[in-house]
Amino acid sequence: MDNARVNNFTKEIISGSKRELTNPDFTRTLMGKIKAENRKSIIYSNIQLYSLIFISIDAVIIVLFNLAGIGLSNVSFKLSSFSRAFENFYSNPMQFIIIYFIVLNVVILMIMMISRNSYSYSKTK
């Protein structure tokens, strides 16, 4: 029997053993998993992006205050105890400004992050 004929016969019999997925929900279930993965990766990349922005802005603020001759050692100590820092707001306006900037910074970033997440999600929905 020549090789081409053997090949054809083999192809015929192996084709007879073909398997097909019978689960009608297979694609739907899988697309649900893909959607979840997609969301997860968007959130992960957003966290990375906003962490980077957050760190950069804070670094700029720290550099600016250092240039202005305001040391951060006292401030970081005060930050570790928020109530104490709050008490000092009235006595030390510069500390108040620093804390105000950092809190504002965090709030803006959170708003941006939430709005970007909902935009990305609606875009891919």
């Binding site: 097909e20 997925l21 697309m31």
Partner: protein
């Protein structure tokens, strides 16, 4: 077409990935089933492989076909499931390989009802080891070239031709034995 949908998915349109699912799910399932021999496990492997392909799509360099890359993920996932063990249910002597009368097998096979044909093919394939089943499925069912099979299975191409030939012969030896016993039973 594959490249177009790859770009779509990479541009953020995750729904475009359903194209790949529709296109490759059945073949991926056939490959996984040939290795794990269990429909539930095969389905799970195919799902996991698609999720893995979606997550790694950025890393796909497109120097091979998407299907080749994806089937490799399926094969690796299936082999992990069976623990890379090689199942060989019976030693098959290949000394008299050329003596296998494929014409007679073809004749006997064509006389069988469709359901019996499927039954004997499943028996024959299940008695082969995983590697042989996989090579035969990729070559004869999915029409993959030897180069593609080499990439999917990580077998050197120079060994692959011989492995394919031997796998085919082993299958015919088993089929011949099974069909002979069927004929004896009928007589």
């Amino acid at each position: 077409m594959d490249n177009l949908y790859i770009q779509k998915v990479l541009n953020g349109d995750y729904a475009g990935f359903s194209y790949f699912i529709d296109q490759y799910k059945d073949m991926a399932y056939s490959i996984a089933f040939r290795i794990v021999n269990n429909s539930e496990d095969a389905e799970e492997i195919v799902q996991d492989s698609f999720v893995k392909a979606f997550k790694s799509l950025k890393k796909f360099r497109q120097d091979s076909k998407f299907s080749t890359w994806f089937y490799r993920i399926v094969v690796n996932g299936s082999l992990s499931k069976v623990g890379r063990r090689k199942i060989n249910l019976g030693y098959i002597n290949l000394d008299n390989v050329s003596d296998v009368a494929i014409e007679e097998i073809e004749l006997a096979y064509n006389h069988l009802a469709h359901s019996d044909q499927q039954k004997y093919i499943h028996i024959a394939l299940n008695r082969l080891d995983i590697e042989d089943r996989l090579i035969l499925t990729l070559y004869y069912l999915n029409n993959n070239s030897l180069e593609e099979i080499a990439e999917i299975t990580e077998i050197k191409i120079e060994n692959l031709k011989m492995k394919l030939f031997r796998a085919r012969q082993k299958m015919y030896i088993i089929l011949e034995k099974e069909l002979n016993s069927e004929t004896k039973n009928l007589l």
